[in-house]
């Protein structure tokens, strides 16, 4: 079945440094949709950005990600981390065929940004 791997459980950064959270996925279907959801403390998880187009950069709220089907990756990046970016980030995958339209999530990466 489909799977998503986020290899870092915790990423700690000083404010102002670039952010990169890794996400790789496995699916046998070519028509995959990739998502990043963010979960701030005491809030509900919400969509940060999504893509299904190979090699096209998607941006939202200062974050960006590019889906690379050749390497099955969808890494989340930001040029300069802010304290307010501290949160739990989930990468997720759905495809039209195998998952019955449900999202498969990775284990999540906690991002902690310090002064």
């Amino acid at each position: 079945g489909d799977s998503v791997t986020q290899k870092e459980g915790l990423v700690t950064l000083t404010e102002g440094l670039p952010v990169m959270l890794n996400c790789t996925y496995q699916t046998i279907y070519s028509n995959a949709f990739l998502f990043w959801y963010v979960h701030y403390l005491n809030e509900s998880p919400r969509l940060l950005l999504k893509s299904s187009t190979d090699n096209k950069r998607t941006e939202h709220q200062g974050f960006h990600a590019t889906l690379h089907k050749s390497s099955s990756s969808f890494h989340l990046q930001k040029s300069s981390a802010q304290l307010s970016d501290s949160a739990l980030y989930y990468c997720a995958l759905s495809d039209r065929a195998s998952s019955g339209q449900k999202l498969v999530f990775g284990q999540g990466t906690i991002l902690k940004v310090y002064l």
Binding site: Q6, S44, K50, S52, Y90, S94, S99, G100
Partner: protein
């Protein structure tokens, strides 16, 4: 629009007791999803409904977990004979039609603690 509403916010049960969790999806959304959030597993898919019909329950532990959606305005997740390993945050989400590219809108979750 109040968003997805989950009650209760917190529930504490003794081992072997029953727990019922409630979810009210966003009005007009026809797809409802249940996920379980833990540190180790991240967001695990449990089950989902579309137009009140169960579509995929592949993530549900078969023996003690059950979910229903008796009408379009609420869904319940019932856990019988709760065990300490059931302790987690249970998240409900809804989407417009359950399509693979759609955004999931999450509730605030129910934190279940089994003593």
């Amino acid at each position: 629009n109040a968003g997805v509403i989950q009650t209760p916010r917190h529930k504490v049960t003794g081992k072997g007791q029953e727990a019922t969790l409630w979810c009210e999806p966003i009005s007009g959304h026809s797809a409802v999803f249940w996920y379980r959030q833990t540190i180790v597993q991240g967001l695990e898919f449990l089950t989902y409904f579309r137009n009140q019909a169960p579509i995929d329950d592949s993530g549900m532990p078969k023996e003690r977990f059950s979910a229903q959606m008796p009408n379009q305005s609420h869904s319940t997740l019932k856990i019988q004979s709760t065990q300490p390993q059931d302790s987690a945050v249970y998240l409900c989400a809804s989407s417009l039609e359950g399509g693979p590219a759609e955004t999931l809108y999450f509730g605030s979750g129910t934190r279940l603690t089994v003593l």
